[in-house]
């Protein structure tokens, strides 16, 4: 699976995945339709059997401009999903206009009916492609990490991030190795309890205030190098994670690469809703790593008046004013405060 971030390194190049030529074809189709609609609206109207008057020409031009906008969006954007969806909306508008035209001023109704059938076909293609793109985006969440790793994925969502911490590898590894430290820096993890040599019990919050629990097992453990874990059967949210510790150049400490896989509650729709609230998985992982760095380097999660819980995805969208809180500070959960 190609890394979407790396794929973007040639922004002008063609989209790098099989299947994307459907989007491309739809974009070209938009362009091919838009140009005559704008340049010669009367002729197009006559072609599809509509009465060639001022009103028809006005609407034909408007539709043409819309098509050209869609074409530009689809052909130039690296992720044209929104623009392909806009074609579905446009098709619906076209069907409504054709229906109105058929009722009032179709000069040659047969042609108009044929045109309507054609639009219906295109609508189906647009909808199918839109759904495909949306699904793909939900599955491949972009991240700013370095290398793509196809780990033992436990769920369809995955997110990666990397950060450098000015601490020796052994110390960083040791802190992470004690899973009970997780709630100090993982914003959504409420508690972790060690239940056996390699086993632990996790409680976390999920979108919409839900609470999820699972048992996890450490699946790999290499001193000062790597820790991997995955949820056991019966988990509310199936998930797995791998963290790698690499020596940073010079005396800069340790580079940490974190990779998480999980089944998003609510699937692709749940992911889309979470994204709306700023809870994009890759963002969460980066925030968690930032908090981890703060804990390792400064002793605790750094708080401000605007972000009294510290770095938190949801706070980025909804800051409170930068003046002191009325109540006692919220503080870091479980942190050494």
């Amino acid at each position: 699976m190609a890394d979407p971030v790396q794929a973007s390194s040639s922004p002008s190049g063609p989209p790098g995945r099989p299947g994307d030529n459907v989007s491309r074809a739809l974009g070209l189709f938009s362009a091919a339709l838009g140009v005559p609609q704008v340049v010669a609206p009367g002729r197009v109207a006559r072609l599809i059997g509509l009465k060639d008057d001022g009103r028809t020409r006005f609407w034909m031009r408007a539709v043409g401009v819309r098509e050209l906008a869609a074409a530009t969006g689809i052909l130039t954007r690296r992720r044209p999903t929104g623009w392909v969806w806009s074609r579905v909306a446009g098709d619906t508008m076209d069907l409504a206009l054709l229906r109105a035209g058929l009722g009032r001023k179709a000069v040659r109704p047969t042609r108009t009916v044929i045109a309507t059938g054609a639009v219906l076909g295109v609508t189906a293609a647009d909808a199918a492609e839109s759904v495909r793109l949306t699904r793909r985006e939900a599955v491949q969440t972009p991240s700013a990490s370095t290398a793509s790793q196809d780990g033992k994925a436990a769920g369809p969502m995955h997110a990666r991030a990397a950060i450098t911490v000015r601490r020796p590898r052994k110390e960083v590894y040791a802190f992470w190795h004690d899973f009970e430290n997780m709630p100090q820096f993982m914003a959504h993890v409420e508690s972790v309890q060690i239940t056996g040599i390699r086993r632990s019990h996790w409680v976390a919050t999920a979108p919409a205030g839900r609470r999820v629990e699972w048992d996890a097992e450490m699946t790999a453990d290499e001193e000062a190098k790597l820790i991997a874990w995955r949820s056991l059967e019966g988990a509310d949210v199936e998930n797995s994670g791998t963290v790698r510790f690499l020596k940073a150049p010079g005396d800069q400490g340790t580079e940490i690469q974190l990779e998480l896989h999980y089944a998003m509650p609510g699937g692709a729709l749940g992911a889309a809703v979470a994204k709306l609230f700023g809870e994009e998985p890759s963002q969460q992982v980066r925030d968690d790593l930032r908090r981890f760095k703060q804990v390792m380097e400064t002793g605790e999660v750094v708080l401000s008046d605007g972000s009294p819980e510290g770095t938190l995805a949801i706070r980025l969208a909804r800051q409170r004013p930068a003046h002191p809180l009325e109540s006692e500070p919220i503080g870091t959960k479980g942190g050494p405060s």
């Binding site: 450098t164 000015r166 800069q252 400490g253 963002q283 980066r286 925030d287 930032r290 760095k293 703060q294 380097e297 400064t298 002793g299 605790e300 750094v302 708080l303 401000s304 008046d305 605007g306 972000s307 009294p308 510290g310 770095t311 995805a313 706070r315 980025l316 800051q319 409170r320 004013p321 930068a322 003046h323 002191p324 809180l325 009325e326 006692e328 500070p329 503080g331 050494p336 405060s337």
Partner: protein, 390 residues
């Protein structure tokens, strides 16, 4: 407590807000005795810095008395008199260890917002937008100071507030502007702007061995301060062609180093050219007006240094990159790494090499902050620097 809060473009008001509390173990609470309005506060006032919220307490130049310390602060005790640097820095990340305190990696809880705009986050700053941390500022009776074991410097001599207050920002900022010029004997340094930071850049350029310093502004009273207090030669750009004047004054060479102490709200003497950038800025086609910076690039001696300490927020257009590249200029810039200048500059003040209080023209109570902003913004009443007393 009383605090000066931002409440939309061109509006600040003094309101009652809750007292600050210790939030992190390395916090201190400071009772503010003096606080100042900075030129960069005007960028917030004018609405050019994104991510401000109504109710944000402004102010990043302040000093006072420690009234409470978190249990992680060993270096300060209640009763200490301190000046607080405007960037918030943890002291333990790789950037802080390099002495680059204003790009601390840990002090901005909202780093993500800054990353969207700049690729990386920089340090949190008191009272300077949510993108830079969402910290309450120091134009108030009290302030919470994070990493109080790293930032604040104790003032143990009997110096007056106004002599040490500007260690918080404008004196080190001006000093760093001059230091980045890598001044050698015989160097001529030109400074765009004659505001408070520029006044300290002028003084610092001389402290660092400049042969001559030339200040450029359009307000005669500020140029007069640059001449009389700083010993600079001056050019009033509203009356004189700056590029011609600089060429004449430097035997055709151009200044060896050029300091931009103006930033994103520069003016141009030609109303048409000024309007060009003003309109683009107002319609958000660019965020930064670049007249001063563009002129500095054109004026600078080939192989010379361009030192940018005026604040910029985002994007500028028509930047003369061709002149910059072909003349082989060295560009140095950054928010001031105040922490590393505190001790050496306090020493210079204690030894009488400089008395920073010369820039103060207005002394107001905190409650008069809104008047202070208006006076400072419109340069009424020969205003150079406003100090507020809570």
């Amino acid at each position: 407590m009383r605090a000066n809060v931002w409440s939309g473009r061109n509006t600040v008001q003094v309101e009652n807000v809750p007292d600050p509390k210790i939030m992190n173990s390395r916090d201190a609470i400071v009772r503010i005795t003096s606080t100042a309005i900075c030129g960069s506060d005007l960028h917030l006032y004018d609405g050019y810095i994104p991510t401000m919220k109504r109710g944000d307490i402004l102010g990043h130049e302040f000093m006072g008395e420690v009234v409470e310390v978190g249990k992680g602060v060993g270096s300060l005790t209640v009763g200490d008199r301190v000046v607080v640097p405007f960037p918030i820095a943890c002291g333990s990340c790789n950037q802080c260890r390099r002495g680059l305190f204003s790009v601390c990696e840990n002090s901005n809880p909202n780093a993500r917002i800054a990353e969207k705009l700049m690729g990386h986050s920089t340090a949190g700053i008191f009272g300077y937008s949510h993108m830079l941390g969402g910290y309450a500022g120091g134009q108030a009776e009290y302030a919470r100071v994070p990493f109080a074991d790293v930032g604040p410097i104790k003032i143990e001599s009997g110096l007056a507030d106004e002599q040490v207050l500007f260690l918080s920002d404008i004196f080190p900022t001006g000093y760093m502007g001059a230091e980045m010029c890598d001044i050698k004997p015989g160097d001529v340094v030109a400074v765009w702007g004659a505001g408070p930071v520029a006044q300290f850049a002028i003084a610092s350029a001389y402290l660092l061995g400049a042969e001559r310093v030339i200040a450029i502004d359009r307000f005669e009273y500020r140029l007069q301060m640059a001449r009389e207090k700083g010993g600079a030669e001056t050019i009033n750009y509203a009356e004189t062609n700056v590029l011609e004047a600089l060429r004449e004054m430097t035997g055709g060479r151009g200044p060896d180093a050029c300091i931009d102490a103006v930033g994103m709200e520069a003016h141009h003497h030609n109303p048409g050219l000024h309007a060009y950038d003003r309109v683009k800025q107002a319609t958000r086609l660019e965020t930064d007006r670049g007249h001063a910076l563009r002129q500095a690039v054109i004026a600078c001696r080939p192989g010379g240094t361009l030192s940018i300490i005026g604040v910029y927020g985002g994007l500028m257009d028509k930047f003369p990159i061709g002149a910059l590249m072909n003349k082989g200029l060295t560009v140095r810039t950054g928010q001031c790494h105040v922490h590393r200048y505190l001790r050496p500059l306090l020493q210079r003040i204690e030894q009488g090499e400089i008395d920073p209080s010369f820039v103060v023209t207005h002394r107001l109570s905190l409650d008069d902050a809104p008047t202070g902003y208006e006076t400072f913004k419109h340069k009424r009443d020969d205003c150079v620097k406003v100090v507020l007393k809570p």
